[in-house]
């Protein structure tokens, strides 16, 4: 059975902030719009987090989840995953992290056109005294099946 929808993000990567916000790429962002009003769908979502430019004085936590942004906006239950980062040391830089959110069975709202987006945040921006950097999401996808 083929996917119903498959969204692969493209364009400029998304830089994480301390605010929960939709992951927005320069060209195509990870979001799906459901045509049907009722039923359930399986959703798989995946990101690659680029940590290479960041300095951390303390372990930070990245949160990633799905959120319906219309028809009574709400986080998609059970979709949240929290990913803890280590402390940066001068001897090593951090490798990318591939993170899959938990597979979800999403129940449509009853109105056609549900919009579900990938959201993310970091609990503190990277810093180490006077050194700063960024944490970005460089790849992202959302896959939907019946």
């Amino acid at each position: 059975m083929p996917f119903m929808q498959n969204i692969y993000a493209a364009g400029t990567p998304y830089t994480l902030t301390i605010f929960n916000a939709p992951v927005t790429f320069g060209t195509t962002s990870p979001r799906v719009t459901f045509r049907a009003a009722n039923g359930t769908r399986i959703i798989l979502a995946r990101v690659v987090i680029d940590l290479s430019g960041a300095m951390f004085a303390d372990g930070e936590v990245i949160s990633i989840y799905l959120r319906r942004t219309n028809h009574t906006p709400a986080d998609v239950p059970n979709s949240l995953t929290n990913f803890q980062l280590g402390i940066w040391t001068p001897e090593q830089s951090l490798s990318d992290a591939v993170v899959e959110i938990p597979p979800i069975e999403y129940t449509l709202s009853g109105t056609p056109g549900d919009v579900v987006k990938l959201y993310a945040s970091i609990d503190d921006i990277p810093h180490d005294y006077d050194m700063y950097g960024e944490v970005s999401i460089r790849e992202a996808s959302i896959i939907v099946k019946n």
């Binding site: 090593q92 490798s95 591939v98």
Partner: protein, 142 residues
């Protein structure tokens, strides 16, 4: 979605090179030969990348992808992922990486027997030591 075609690699792990190539294990490699000729199938692939005393003075990029190697060979669209690996100057052990490739919908070529393989490469070899793919799998519908 029953996953009826499966390949779980076994045997000697694959050592990455700086040339894109099939991930070959000592006994069983991650390859699927599709029985059907037509249609669209979901394919999921996964690899575990380990660092064996790898010293890298600069960051490296590892690329993993799926590739059909017959019936007009071509990379599978949207299957590629690039993982940036951090600097390791001491050769101390680095944490391995579990890498799930993006799930993809593969459109069969129209001729039965499409062969889809896991391919990998690194943009520059480590200064010393190895980077290996220690586990790999490809699963698909029938």
């Amino acid at each position: 979605m029953p996953l009826r075609q499966r390949a779980y690699a076994t045997g000697t792990p694959y050592v990455l090179t700086n040339t894109p190539a099939q991930v070959q294990f000592g006994t069983t490699s991650p390859i699927i030969t599709f029985i059907r000729a037509n249609g669209k199938l979901i394919v999921l692939a996964r690899a575990v990348v380990n660092f064996v005393n790898a010293v890298m003075s600069t960051e490296r990029n590892i690329t993993l992808k799926l590739r059909r190697t017959n019936h007009t060979a071509a990379d599978i669209p949207n299957s590629s992922t690039v993982i940036k690996v951090g600097v390791s100057t001491s050769g101390q052990s680095m944490t391995g990486a579990v890498v799930e490739l993006p799930p993809v919908e593969v459109t069969l070529s129209g001729t039965s027997g499409d062969v889809v393989e896991l391919w990998a490469s690194i943009d520059s070899l480590p200064d010393s030591g190895d980077i290996v793919i220690k586990e790999a799998s490809i699963v698909s519908e029938l």
